[in-house]
């Protein structure tokens, strides 16, 4: 029995309480443990990715109970990829948080961080839909803690809204699960994939409701229109490293849609086929619009980035909505890309904003290392806006290329291309205001400083960023570059990943044993 699969859950789950109660008064110890733990997680994730690369679907039967009666973890290419993505992002974000001292501005950062990783990895690995709910809750409650880490009025108020929205989402999740169990009698995703095809459309009413409600639940996490309203305020008010980590949270929603609505409700299911895609596609277009308008209209940097995250989720989900192997592969590439791009932007923003006294997009005296920050921001913005040479452009091309079906092409292409334009213009305006206009303004204390700028209380003299502070951002940019240069091999892996996802028979056989597939 291969215990590696459970480690991404158990390792942080054991580490977090230790950090929480043994090391809670010793920040150095807590940091060390957290970094070592996250690095280990990354190593494990690499191992798991290697393990899954040959196309085998590994199943871990918790408590040694056979599926569908017990809970199983399923390691295939997709889940391995998501765990790998999570752990690499986590390491980057964690180092940033430590280097900038964010982790010390409140209690229990590292414990909550590890719990957060546990929840995310668990959600990616599970093969049971109720267990997915449980891990959603773990990752959510940990995210509440991280969201309001270090407090502050705006943050807590935004945090409250975040909590309320997600509690409503969790409630809907349970309604959906109840309906699903009542109409199929099972919770195991593979078992669902066996049972749902046997439901003719004349009797599929209940399972259809379950499917669509689940989609809405996942859409809330994925920030899909019209349930995306919570995201901008949340991300904009979260501590920046946390917002960067949250880049993976929206992907959890996208992942869940991919996993559940492909395997259990997807192509080949007479009762539910095509239902989610229709709505998802229309909603994704609106999401792109919301994101683009938000980027263009933003007054402040953090909301601007948050809206760009919304827009990127629109692009991603548009590809997901096609529910075809090609489009899914493109979606996965774009998913990996946009995770790093969003994180990178938040990290740069943190470096800049902490030296600027606020994130309003008004010119302020240029800070130290203006050129460095400008370069980092430029790179990150290029990544997010989908300009070459970073991976966003290739991702966008892949998505566009995959969405060529007659009914889709016009809407999809217009949305993505026009959305890109607005985003580019928005980022250009922001960057220009932050880094270029600022050089035209004298530093603090100069007599020429306009009165409006003198009004806010003076910031302490900005401290140059250390190598450790900049390195995580650089790493994220490097990830985008690597993703671009090695787009061929990465895409090949993702093609296989997507093919494996659509090979329902293989999944069922692996989880339930031979002879169970329909």
């Amino acid at each position: 029995m291969m215990h590696w699969i459970i480690l991404p859950v158990v390792l942080p789950a054991l580490l977090a309480p230790l950090i929480g109660f043994v090391m809670r008064h010793d920040i150095v110890l807590a940091r060390t443990a957290s970094v070592v733990g996250t690095a280990l997680l990354l190593a494990i994730a690499l191992g798991l990715t290697g393990l899954a690369a040959d196309g085998t679907t590994h199943v871990y039967r918790l408590g040694d109970w056979p599926a569908p009666f017990g809970i199983v973890l399923v390691l295939d290419r997709l889940s391995a990829l998501m765990v790998l993505l999570t752990s690499s992002l986590a390491l980057i974000v964690l180092i940033h948080a430590i280097a900038t001292g964010w982790d010390a501005r409140g209690r229990h950062f590292h414990a909550l961080f590890q719990f957060q990783l546990m929840g995310i990895c668990g959600a990616f690995l599970t093969g049971d839909i109720f267990n997915l709910f449980v891990f959603f809750e773990i990752l959510l409650i940990a995210s509440y803690g991280l969201m309001i880490h270090s407090g502050g009025r705006e943050r807590i108020r935004a945090g409250l809204q975040y909590v309320v929205m997600n509690l409503a989402g969790s409630t809907l999740f349970l309604f959906a699960l109840g309906t699903l169990y009542a109409s199929t009698g099972t919770l195991n995703i593979a078992d669902l994939a066996v049972r749902i095809p046997q439901i003719p459309v004349e009797e599929a009413s209940l399972v259809r409701v379950a499917a669509i409600l689940l989609m809405i639940v996942f859409a809330v996490k994925a920030a899909l229109f019209p349930v995306q309203f919570w995201l901008p305020a949340t991300y904009a008010n979260a501590p920046a490293p946390v917002a960067a980590l949250f880049a993976i949270m929206t992907k959890v929603g996208a992942y869940a849609i991919l996993r559940v609505h492909t395997t259990a409700f997807g192509p080949g299911m007479p009762g539910t086929e095509g239902m989610a895609g229709t709505w998802l596609f229309a909603a994704a277009i609106a999401t792109i619009a919301v994101g683009a308008l938000g980027v263009l209209g933003a007054r402040r940097l953090m909301p601007l980035i948050a809206f760009s995250v919304v827009g990127s989720m629109g692009t991603l989900l548009m590809a997901v909505a096609a529910f075809s192997p090609t489009a899914t592969s493109a979606a996965l590439y774009y998913m990996v890309h946009s995770t790093f791009a969003a994180a990178c932007l938040f990290l740069v923003a943190d470096l800049v904003v902490t030296r600027r006294n606020g994130d309003t997009l008004n010119p302020a005296p240029a800070t130290v290392q203006n050129g460095l920050f400008a370069a980092l921001f430029f790179a990150a913005a290029i990544g997010m806006a989908g300009m070459p040479p970073l991976s966003g452009f290739l991702g966008k091309l892949l998505v566009l290329d995959a969405l060529r079906a007659p009914g889709m092409i016009g809407w999809a292409w217009s949305a993505i291309l026009v959305g890109s334009l607005l985003t580019i213009v928005g980022f250009a305006r922001a960057g220009s205001a932050l880094f270029w206009k600022s050089t035209a303004i004298a530093g603090p204390g100069a007599e020429t400083a306009p009165a409006a700028l003198a009004a806010p209380p003076p910031v302490p003299a900005p401290v140059p960023a250390t190598v450790a502070e900049v390195a995580p951002t650089m790493a994220a940019i490097a990830a985008l570059a690597v993703l671009s240069v090695f787009a061929g091999p990465v895409s090949a892996y993702l093609d296989d990943t997507s093919a494996q996802l659509f090979d329902r028979g293989g999944y069922i056989t692996a989880v339930l044993g031979p002879g169970e597939e329909d």
Partner: protein, 121 residues
Amino acid sequence: MEIIVASTIGVLTAGGVYLLLRLRTFPVILGLALLSYAVNVFLFASGGLAIDQSPILARYGEASYTDPLPQALVLTAIVISFGMTAVLVMVGLGAYLEADSDRIDIDPEDEDENAGKDAQA
């Protein structure tokens, strides 16, 4: 009995949704509490209703048992929603103490006004 349970779920949900849409934190908390009652009963009912068929094996002489799985799911859901409610209460309290207002909506202008007040204080 089914009508009783279904109408209970419906009424609790309606009440919960109505309170969820109020403008202050406390009613929203109440609303979520009602919703969580509703969803627990809903989830419980997904296994079908049964009387005097508790899933305690053989002790009390029954031959047939009600579906135990939804009960286990509801237990998990109850515990989770308890944790969530506690967090919500605390965050709601925190927001009130920080902002001196328990309005749950964030009015940008109101924010600016309060920020000014804070700065003066």
